[in-house]
Symmetry: C2
Subunit: 307 residues, 2 copies
């Protein structure tokens, strides 16, 4: 009923970072792609199997270094239902390896529709009085533009299983300010969203003091993170934007509390595509991903000590 499970895993590994699993076929080394296309043909099935093998390799290489992985649903939906089937497999495999899985789905809908999403991604579908799980992630990302109606059903579903969610507050993209930075009285829109989110989840704080409704706050706006850290003291942060998007370890450091708790920084391309920078042909993708994950951990450790 909070972020305790994730925070415990972060403390175990002394590593407050999460590796993205953004399954683009261009990120998969040539030798894996070719083998999959030869076996399954050039098409959705071939791409799905190539990415599956890549994901398994990444999870194997990272599972004793990082506490969590974050598959981005867009890259699986890109490949239709076959991609979604592989996403289910990927989530299951990552959990078997002890990883906390944040499904980056950014869903946002209301009432019974939001409940349907929450069941599919967290608590399982209800059919004839029985529960059937499918995606079964530990945590999801959400979009709260529709208000508390779009957040509460996920918190209800998550409570039963000690799962949790991150709601978009201040995102890392260049255009995030077009709506999020609009001045609304004495606040900005993203502050309204953050305040609303913390209020909705009040009372669900766990042993570390964080509620079950975290916030996405982009590393590319470090001053905003610093202010949000003070403003939302019970909100756990997910911080995208480190590395390829321009966020530094010093930027990311603003998201943690004095114990090095309360936040997790994400890197995707920097880890998944590390093999493209070794000069090799991709056969070293596991070692390269692992080295990049260790480098990110050490980079952030210069600024943040997880107690």
């Amino acid at each position: 009923m909070s972020f305790d499970v994730l925070q415990d895993k972060i403390r175990d590994k002394k590593n407050p970072t999460v590796a993205g699993l953004d399954a683009r076929i261009e990120y998969v080394p040539e030798y894996i792609r070719q083998a999959a296309f030869e076996e399954y043909g050039v098409g959705l099935k071939g791409a799905v199997e190539a990415i599956w093998q890549f994901n398994v390799g990444l999870i194997d290489a990272l599972c004793d270094i990082v506490p969590a992985v974050k598959p981005q649903s867009a890259y699986y939906e890109n490949l239709g239902w076959q991609g979604m089937e592989m996403l289910e497999r990927t989530i299951r495999y990552a959990k078997e390896k002890g990883l906390f899985v944040i499904a980056d789905i950014k869903r946002g809908d209301i009432g019974s529709t939001a409940s349907a999403y929450a069941e599919g991604w967290l608590s399982g579908a209800k059919i004839e009085g029985q529960v059937f799980k499918s995606f079964d992630a530990d945590c999801v990302t959400l979009n709260g533009y529709m208000g508390s109606d779009s957040i509460n059903p996920f918190l209800e579903a998550a409570k039963a299983e000690d799962k949790c969610a991150f709601v978009l507050v201040k995102t890392s993209n260049p255009g995030s300010g077009e709506l999020q930075d609009i001045v609304a009285g004495d606040r900005l829109v993203y502050q309204v969203m953050g305040d609303l989110n913390e209020r909705i989840a009040a009372g669900t704080e766990g042993k570390y003091g964080y509620t079950m409704a975290g916030a996405v706050t982009g590393a590319t706006y470090p001053e905003d993170i610093k202010a949000l850290r003070k403003r939302l003291e019970h909100t756990f942060f997910l911080v995208p934007g480190y590395g390829a998007q321009g966020g530094t370890a010093a930027d990311v450091a603003n998201a943690y509390d004095n114990y090095g708790h309360g936040s997790i920084a994400n890197s995707c391309r920097g880890i998944m595509c590390a093999w493209k920078k070794t000069g090799g042909d991709g056969h070293d993708f596991k070692e390269a991903a692992r080295a990049a994950a260790v480098a990110m951990m050490n980079d952030i450790a210069q600024y943040v000590t997880v107690l």
Copy 2:
């Protein structure tokens, strides 16, 4: 590159409404459910096949009455990848029957991630230089909280195929005002969103004067719709909230222009669950759905004439 395709279909049928396909197992008549569970077992596969048969019956019963259907992705994701496979089948079948398909996915992400969604849902995945389609809807719904970065990639993907999108502006739920009605200078947040959306899509107007980026505006806030109709003269509206949620034909009528163009009203439960009100056991679900769709069309025709 606009809403011309949908508007033409609306004019052909003189019916500016869309039937929701919100695939809840509870909406399926007992005799279909039982047969599917007997054949496939009580579980995801059984539920998927029961809903598939229900969807086919609804599409058959409605395809000469309504111009469009709107499957809600939440109810398919609820059943995992097997639900997503059935959603692909449903979209394909509806298109074969001449229906315009609005996939109600409310996705919102940025840059290459948004492009990945757009490919999956509209233009097809790119693999080794070839294009492979999966969900292949005519139109999607989007959440623009992340700004233009989350809308533009969909418009790019949609342009190539004369498809389009609806962006959430003022939603129909009770809590929609928590964020959307916040005062931001001389506007409300949802007006900022609507203005931004119309500006992003400027230049894509078709023969009816509407851009390819429509807006979702809930029937439950009729005064807001009336003001938005004047404010966003180039924006096509999708209006949920008729019927079960409390919106009336008079409310919905505010969304149309003087030619009865520029908007489409959605009903879901009122049509899908019409069989629950006939006193029968569900064997009449097709006739009941058809009668409800005709009743909705006639109800709105009291206020709106499609020229």
